[in-house]
């Protein structure tokens, strides 16, 4: 539940922030959200990874649909990998590591006794 909530919050806030600010601000958002949710490192990473993959691929698909894939086809010839795949992967990796960073920074040291 908490995991899905983090994905959702990441998507919504990133969407709002990215509408106005450069792409790398997604990392700032993910660190903050990851910190706030205080999940385990792996969960947080996956939440950021999934959240950004969803947001970027979703956004790209909307544009692609609205413009009849006019540019997607050309970019697919330009890039060695599929444009959606690359878009999703890059957003996801940065989102994932940023969320992980937030979670780790928030984690309480484990008691060993």
């Amino acid at each position: 539940m908490k995991f899905l909530a983090q994905v959702l919050v990441t998507v919504v806030i990133c969407f709002l922030v990215q509408t106005f600010f450069p792409w790398w601000t997604l990392a700032v958002v993910c660190v903050v959200v990851g910190y706030g949710f205080r999940q385990g490192g792996f969960s947080s990473f996956m939440a950021g990874f999934l959240g950004l993959a969803l947001l970027w691929v979703g956004m790209a698909m909307v544009i692609d649909h609205q413009t009849n894939s006019i540019l997607t086809e050309k970019i697919n010839r330009l890039l060695p990998v599929n444009a959606f795949l690359l878009t999703g992967l890059i957003g996801a990796l940065v989102g994932g590591f940023a969320s992980l960073t937030g979670a780790l920074a928030a984690a309480k040291p484990k008691r060993r006794w």
């Binding site: 970027w56 956004m59 544009i63 413009t67 444009a83 878009t87 957003g91 590591f97």
Partner: protein
């Protein structure tokens, strides 16, 4: 442990962001991937759907509201209430569609491509600056600014472009900026001037002074005259006015030939292929079905994307003109208004010379001139290079022009200094010509407009609703002494300089000639009684004769006939040469494959249609024959030039035992017949190889494989291969890379001017727009758009979009 993990995760995140926020050069340039694929700002944002139907924009610098109606072909029709607003709006709409192209072309003109693509463009950039491109643009700008009309025009245009640039943020950047990771910079007046000089460079750089000088030393005068005659005497000149040149020509003392004693080992400047050319003609109302003149124009250039031309309709009080404009310059360049039409082809005249300079010492502060030392100017140039420290160069200017070659920019060790004299370096104001042509009402206005025109020299065709047709070969031409300008010149003496220029009224021209049409296709300009010596880079020999033949034969001409003539695929060169070539194969031992090729050629109708196989075999034969004959011209040490196509074919016919037909590398002594046989086998071999590789028949369109490449070295994703007929030397002059870059047919009827136009590509320069290539298929089918030359109200009923520009309130 926690600190370590957090630190590691932070480091990875930062590293990722850093790495994905910049471009990388790993043999191939990789854009900053994070920025590039970000769907909120990156390339995805360049994908366009249909434009907004209604739009209201507030523009600084505008005086009154301007309405822009985009018709169904995305052609903007601009309705302004004063001229300043008109040119501002032209700058604004052109920039919206074509800004990247505008800036890239002016960067290319100014030698600034290394800033964008890195060190690989440095030699190109240096060569541009050493040819004095920026200097030429500065001279032109000074002239434009000294005339209040053109000064206002160009400043308004710049304001309009910058209104677009000022509104840009990263997501709005044209996609090429995102790919190459650089940013648009504000437009300047100088850039418009640079753009016009780019065109001059394209059209003037067919010169071959170095090659001719070497040929003279190697072969002697007689052979040079045989191989490279000044006038090949083929067909009719553009203007045949024999015995009617009734003016007192300017005369100057003759000039003894002073060719350098040694071979010229420097490499010549990059050549513009002979495929650059154009057709234009106008037929009088006596020959048309409507009784009104029809004017046609199609300039042949290196076809590229974004398209070379941008169609536009300009309206302001006293002005209503439509046609093709050059992105980056105000006004319409080839077009019409409600009274007249005009178009251009290149005049081919030699307007470039090289002067050998003798410096006093290695400091190059002074050079010898008429027995005294004259001061040279040193200009420091800095080249910014992407990813590298910048490069500094010094260019020495003499009064002739810049010294292009010296020890800083010359691969071989022999020090030779040649200064470059180019008419485009002289102050001139071509913009005024187009300003006046755009609003001209009649022949007198056309003549007055052309008086401003200097360079690059053009054949200006004209027709009017009044019924006049005319041709004028306008430019600034030095008065040449016989032979002058063909070879390198002595820069130490004033006697070898350009002494005077042909007065405008003595230029080659005619109006309403008896044959009831005027035409030009880059052929020799004038009959023998014209009292000035004429030298040119190359003269066209085939298109002009085909056009003139069809125009002479035709009566009751319709606009459709004229469109068909522009798309005419008849290969006159083949019709004149192939029958004799086939005869030369008599009694030769042919392989079965060669026999089939022979049969295909014998049955060929001489039309380069898309499906014609004969055209492919003929071309392959010629492609083998031409270099085989002129093997003597491929010299590793010095540059030489192949004689022209026409002269080559003539020599095969008239002097088959000429020593040049001998292939130097073989012990036998070959004649024209032998090289024809050898090259036939080679040509057939080339076609067979092609057929095996492609697994299909050698249909002409497939074999020719025409390509319209994006300006970034033909980036495949943004470029197109097209199946189209025609070739160089054919009226439909579409070779593999060059072709009709703009086709226009205008019927100048009293009840209203009708016009048709088309070009390969589209109005938008954005590969993510449906209008990037929306005209390409129509062009390939040799069809036209009917140009909507009407008022705003009628246009609005079927408009794609309407934009209203309103003055920005401070």
């Amino acid at each position: 442990m926690k600190v370590f993990k957090t630190g590691l995760a932070t480091a990875i995140t930062l590293l990722l962001v850093w790495a994905l926020n910049q471009s990388w050069d790993v043999g191939q340039s990789i854009p900053p991937l994070g920025k590039f694929v970000d769907p909120f700002h990156g390339f995805w944002q360049n994908a366009e759907a249909a434009p907004a139907r209604e739009e209201n924009l507030s523009i600084p610098g505008l005086q009154q509201p301007v309405t822009i109606v985009y018709d169904s072909a995305m052609i903007p029709h601009i309705f302004a209430q004063n001229e300043s607003d008109l040119f501002l709006a032209q700058g604004f709409v052109t920039a919206r569609h074509r800004f990247w192209q505008m800036e890239f072309q002016t960067h290319a003109g100014a030698g600034r491509i290394s800033e964008i693509v890195g060190e690989k463009a440095l030699n190109y950039d240096r060569s541009q600056r050493r040819l004095g491109m920026v200097y030429a643009a500065q001279q032109a700008l000074a002239s434009m600014m000294s005339n209040p009309v053109t000064a206002a025009m160009i400043q308004s245009y710049t304001k309009g472009v910058n209104a677009y640039v000022a509104g840009l943020s990263y997501e709005d950047y044209p996609i090429e900026y995102k790919l190459l990771d650089y940013a648009p910079e504000p437009w300047t007046d100088l850039k418009s001037a640079l753009l016009l000089k780019n065109m001059a460079q394209t059209l003037n750089m067919g010169e071959k002074d170095i090659e001719m000088t070497n040929a003279l030393k190697l072969f002697g005068r007689e052979t040079v005259d045989l191989l490279y005659p000044d006038n090949e005497r083929v067909g009719e000149p553009i203007v045949d006015n024999a015995g009617q040149w009734k003016f007192q020509p300017v005369t100057i003392d003759s000039l003894p030939l002073a060719v350098p004693d040694e071979f010229v080992t420097i490499p010549p400047t990059k050549k513009v292929p002979a495929d650059v050319g154009s057709n234009n003609w106008a037929v009088s109302g006596k020959k048309t079905i409507t009784g009104s003149p029809i004017l046609c124009n199609d300039p042949h250039l290196n076809l590229s994307l974004p398209s070379i031309w941008y169609m536009i309709h300009l309206n302001a009080p006293g002005l209503n003109t439509m046609g093709a404009s050059l992105p980056g310059a105000p006004a319409v360049i080839s077009g019409f208004n409600d009274s007249i039409a005009w178009g251009v082809t290149n005049a081919q005249r030699d307007l470039v010379d090289w002067y050998k300079i003798q410096f006093r010492d290695s400091l190059k502060n002074e050079y010898l001139y008429d027995g005294a030392w004259r001061k040279a100017t040193h200009v420091a140039e800095v080249f910014a290079i992407k990813g590298k420290p910048s490069f500094a160069d010094t260019i020495v200017f003499t009064h002739h022009g810049p010294v292009v070659y010296d020890e800083r920019f010359q691969p071989d060790r022999e020090l030779k200094h040649y200064a470059f004299r180019w008419v485009a370096h002289d102050p001139s104001n071509e913009l005024m010509t187009f300003y006046q042509l755009n609003r001209a009402r009649n022949h007198t206005d056309y003549m007055a407009a052309l008086d401003y025109y200097t360079s690059p020299a053009q054949n200006f065709v004209f027709a009017s609703v009044n019924g006049d047709i005319a041709m004028r070969i306008q430019g600034k031409y030095p008065v040449r002494r016989p032979g002058e300008g063909k070879f390198l010149l002595d820069g130490t003496r004033s006697a070898s300089e350009w002494q005077a220029f042909i007065p405008n009224e003595q230029n080659v021209m005619h109006k309403n000639p008896a044959r009831d049409f005027v035409s030009s296709a880059n052929q020799y300009p004038v009959d023998d009684t014209y009292p000035y010596y004429i030298n040119g880079s190359s003269w066209e020999a085939y298109r002009n004769r085909r056009i003139n033949q069809l125009l002479s034969e035709s009566e009751e001409i319709t606009p459709t006939d004229m469109k068909e003539l522009q798309a005419d695929n008849y290969n006159l060169k083949a019709a004149e040469s192939l029958p004799a070539w086939l005869t030369a194969l008599d009694s030769a031992q042919l392989t079965p494959t060669e026999q089939k090729a022979f049969a295909t050629l014998r049955e060929w109708d001489f039309y380069n249609h898309t499906e014609s196989e004969g055209a492919s075999y003929y071309e392959a034969w010629w492609d083998a024959l031409y270099p085989m004959i002129w093997d003597e011209m491929r010299n590793e040490k010095i540059a030489l030039e192949y004689p022209s196509t026409y002269n080559t074919l003539k020599l095969i016919r008239t002097q088959p035992t000429l020593s040049f037909f001998d292939i130097a590398a073989t012990p036998e002594k070959e004649t024209a017949r032998d090289v024809l046989r050898k090259s036939f086998s080679e040509g057939v071999g080339a076609i067979e190889k092609w057929k095996n590789e492609k697994g299909k028949n050698a249909a002409w369109a497939d074999y020719k494989n025409s390509f319209i490449g994006h300006l970034l070295q033909g980036l495949p994703a943004f470029s197109y291969h097209v199946r189209h007929g025609g070739n160089h030397d054919i009226v439909n002059a579409h070779s593999r890379t060059h072709g009709p870059s703009w086709r226009m047919v205008v019927s100048l009827e009293k009840k209203g001017v009708r016009a048709w136009g088309i070009y390969p590509g589209g109005q938008s320069g954005n590969p993510g727009s449906p209008y990037y290539n929306h005209l390409l298929d129509t062009w390939v089918r040799d069809e036209y758009l009917t140009l909507a030359f009407t008022g705003a109200d009628k246009l609005k009923t079927q408009a794609l979009a309407t934009t209203t520009l309103t003055p920005a309130t401070k």
